[in-house]
């Protein structure tokens, strides 16, 4: 405003009147612990990083390609939809990048670019922004993206696996352990697969076919423990989820080991670890109450096993979490914490 264009004199500045100090006035509290949504998202991304890097190590540059396309397209969809809806741009909260990364972790390394983009379109635009953005989406965006792809493009999503190249047998089309289990059961009437120390070790390390983020159970578990240690997530959902899968498959394995695989196999295969630690624990779409988290986790586990043992799909983690997402408001309502000093304590006082 200081420029003196076309001979106009600049307006004289109003004389500064001393009105005393000006204070910010707002409701208490006046301090904050400093935690932000962006920090939380960053911690989750950090927790996922080892498994993501490992997927690049074992699947090669193809994995990097999938992750890059996914994160970038998620961010672009977020930016565009916020702009179109004339809302503030929310890229900085990191939630779009995390959704992109999570979706990438749920895709095979052979995914063509358009598949990744379509997945993110559904994840960010349909499942998240059309509901109002972060905080308002009832379903886990990354899982909506994955399930849309799974149903619409089954060949791309389930039939083009490569076994991890670092462990030999490069680029051989193969089936995931869960698919092999299911197919042998359908054709032979019993499961036909070895499950010894070598197989367990392979599954733990990640020497198997699968989505990027399904493979390394150990690194996913480390990431999950990191999040629990940092108090980003509670232990309740992952422990109940994995525990329910273990217990339920264990019971059936005891009943008929020829038809039902070892519970340890069920726990360390498929997408259970990434699902239990990183997807089911999504804040927005899971319960906020402690008991609600326990119920939610157990429900995810039970539905996963139902689908794995008797459903049409070999894997049920994604469907299980999405179905439980739908029950989240109901669970929260029926597991309301009892207010301090509620009826029960009156007896104790008397």
């Amino acid at each position: 405003m200081e420029e003196n264009i076309e001979g106009k004199k600049p307006e004289p500045k109003p004389k500064k009147v001393d009105v005393g100090p000006r204070f910010v006035v707002s409701s208490s509290p006046h301090v904050h612990d400093g935690r932000t949504v962006a920090q939380i998202m960053r911690l989750v991304i950090i927790a996922l990083a080892p498994a993501a890097l490992f997927s690049i190590y074992i699947f090669g540059l193809d994995a990097l390609r999938v992750i890059a396309i996914s994160v970038v397209s998620a961010a672009v969809f977020e930016l565009v939809s916020r702009k179109v809806m004339k809302r503030n741009v929310t890229l900085r909260d990191g939630s779009a990048a995390l959704t992109g990364l999570l979706l990438a972790m749920n895709l095979p390394s052979t995914s063509p670019w358009w598949l990744i983009v379509v997945g993110n379109l559904f994840a960010i635009v349909i499942a998240k922004q059309l509901y109002g953005g972060l905080g308002y989406n009832p379903f886990n965006p990354a899982l909506v993206g994955r399930v849309v792809l799974l149903i619409s493009f089954p060949v791309n999503m389930t039939a083009r696996w490569v076994t991890a190249s670092r462990f030999g047998a490069d680029a051989v089309t193969t089936a995931t352990p869960l698919t092999r289990m299911k197919e042998s059961l359908a054709t032979l009437g019993h499961i036909d697969m070895a499950f010894g120390k070598k197989e367990i070790l392979d599954l733990l390390i990640g020497n198997r076919a699968g989505c990027l983020g399904e493979t390394s159970v150990i690194l996913l578990a480390l990431g999950g423990l990191f999040l629990i240690w940092k108090r980003v997530i509670s232990w309740r959902i992952p422990v109940m989820f994995i525990g329910a899968v273990w217990a339920m498959t264990g019971v059936f394995h005891l009943i008929d080991p020829a038809r039902y695989a070892n519970p340890i196999f069920h726990v360390i295969t498929g997408g259970l670890f990434i699902g239990a630690f990183f997807m089911a624990t999504d804040y927005v779409t899971s319960p906020v109450t402690k008991n609600g988290m326990l119920i939610f986790g157990a429900g995810c586990g039970v539905i996963t096993v139902l689908i794995r043992l008797w459903g049409a799909y070999p894997e049920g983690v994604s469907f299980a979490i999405l179905l439980m997402n739908a029950t989240t408001p109901l669970i929260d309502r029926y597991t309301r914490p009892k207010v301090f000093g509620a009826a029960d304590s009156r007896k104790a006082a008397a």
């Binding site: 005393g20 100090p21 204070f23 910010v24 006035v25 707002s26 409701s27 208490s28 509290p29 006046h30 301090v31 904050h32 612990d33 935690r35 932000t36 949504v37 920090q39 939380i40 109002g132 953005g133 972060l134 905080g135 308002y136 509670s234 804040y283 927005v284 899971s286 906020v288 109450t289 402690k290 929260d332 309301r336 914490p337 009892k338 207010v339 301090f340 000093g341 509620a342 009826a343 304590s345 009156r346 104790a348 006082a349």
Partner: protein, 441 residues
């Protein structure tokens, strides 16, 4: 019995080191006082002075406006300059008397006269406490004589003297305990006699080891007295949480400490009650912690009631140039001031002045349902759901979700990563629920 932890709570940055080693200093008389007539929770007091009246220190300038009310006294001798509306430290404009001191600081007759408290009947003690305008000095300003009058069907067995001082920054109670241990315990003994209990627990957070030691020494010879060192966690000093931590008793939702046989009194209140009974000294001064990075010389000031914040700040070296927020009380529950014309009341435990980078900005971003507030809420509410209901003006639902049990401690907002103005929502919801209840009733 024991050092039980209550549910929830947070660990804010306490910053008590700014003032906790500084001895209480008495502030000289300022040029004028602004004494508010409404100084207690409950019915406002009724003014009995008018413009031009010449008054003396300790003279009643406003009488109790009912049973749940107390008189207000002149902080010094002088003239009533005017009676006008001033910005009160709780955020509303309220009637107050402006008093110009005459500099003599002369007591009104009968005030400041030593007497023995032995042989005084319970009713007389309560009357003295009422007449001297004693209210809860922890901040709530509930009339003390009312708290000392539980209905006959409540069996009281424990008196808790609250020296937790869990609010960050504040050190007024800490200094009182260090410097006036005997007086506090004498006041506690009075309270115990009035409600007929033998057991007195002085509760202090562990971050005040010197106060614990001194109070333990002072309490050693007194039968039934004990000093408990409590974990440092906010809001340890909230009545219901404090009682639970000390006795494992849960005050019923919507109930009062007397429902579990406990009376809680702040250390400052105990001292004020002792001085009222022993010396007939009305409550006309209190310790105010003036602190924070926005003030040049943090101090624990013994200030008269009615001392304007501006004078108080001048006495403490003035503001730093980037002082951005002035809080009556602590940073968790205190009230932000918009004018330094506001003045010390009986509930002013501190004046905390913060700089821009220290103050939290709360916005209305969407709740991401992280559930941190459920972990932090010491009343075991669901602040997440409550804030969403309040935002949508679904006040019936906030009532169903027990918003009326909210103690406004601020833990939920303190941990909210979306920086939602939780307490603000709940205050509004509570007001709306009360409105609904009035309509229904």
């Amino acid at each position: 019995m024991g050092n039980g932890r209550f549910f929830g709570g947070v660990h804010p940055i306490y910053n008590k080191g700014l003032a906790d080693a500084r001895a209480i200093v008495e502030m000289p008389l300022p040029e004028k006082f602004v004494v508010f007539f409404g100084q207690n929770l409950g019915a406002p007091s009724q003014p009995v002075v008018k413009k031009g009246d010449v008054i003396r220190k300790g003279q009643v300038i406003a009488e109790a406006g009912g049973f749940v009310s107390t008189p207000v006294h002149a902080p010094t001798s002088g003239t009533v300059d005017s009676i006008d509306v001033y910005p009160s430290p709780v955020g509303v404009d309220a009637p107050a008397a402006v008093i110009i001191p005459d500099g003599k600081d002369e007591w009104f007759e009968e005030c400041d006269v030593e007497r023995s408290s032995d042989g005084l009947s319970i009713d007389i003690i309560k009357e003295i406490i009422h007449d001297n305008g004693i209210v809860g000095m922890g901040g709530a300003t509930f009339p003390t004589h009312v708290k000392l009058s539980p209905p006959a069907d409540k069996k009281m067995d424990t008196l808790v003297i609250n020296g937790a001082e869990c609010e960050p920054y504040l050190t007024a109670d800490h200094r009182l305990m260090v410097e006036h241990a005997e007086g506090i315990l004498d006041g506690a003994a009075l309270f115990a006699a009035v409600i007929g209990v033998k057991k007195v627990i002085v509760a202090i957070e562990k971050n005040k080891p010197d106060a614990i030691e001194i109070m333990r020494k002072a309490a050693a010879g007194r039968e039934g007295f004990s000093v408990e060192a409590l974990d440092v966690i906010y809001p340890q000093g909230a009545e219901k949480q404090l009682i639970y931590a000390l006795t494992k008793r849960k005050v019923p939702a919507g109930g009062l400490p007397m429902d579990v046989g406990v009376l809680v009194q702040n250390v400052g209140t105990a001292l004020a009650a002792y001085e009222a009974v022993r010396y007939n000294r009305p409550l006309i001064r209190r310790v105010v912690t003036v602190t924070g990075s926005g003030i040049r010389e943090p101090k624990n000031v013994l200030a008269r009631i009615g001392t304007r914040f501006e004078d108080l700040i001048d006495f403490c070296g003035g503001l730093e140039s980037d002082a951005a927020k002035c809080i009556n009380g602590g940073p968790m529950m205190g009230v932000a001031q918009y004018s330094l014309d506001a003045a010390v009341t009986k509930g002013t435990s501190g004046l905390v002045i913060l700089r821009q980078e220290e103050i939290a900005q709360f916005v209305s971003d969407a709740c991401v349902r992280c559930a941190r507030c459920l972990d932090a809420c010491p009343m075991r509410l669901n602040p997440s759901a409550l804030s969403i209901f309040a935002e949508k003006m679904r006040f019936e639902d906030t009532k169903k979700y027990n918003v009326m049990d909210c103690i406004e401690c601020g833990c939920c907002a303190y941990v909210c990563p979306s920086r939602r103005p939780m307490v603000h929502h709940f205050r509004r919801a509570k007001a709306e629920v009360r409105k609904l209840q009035r309509k229904a009733g």
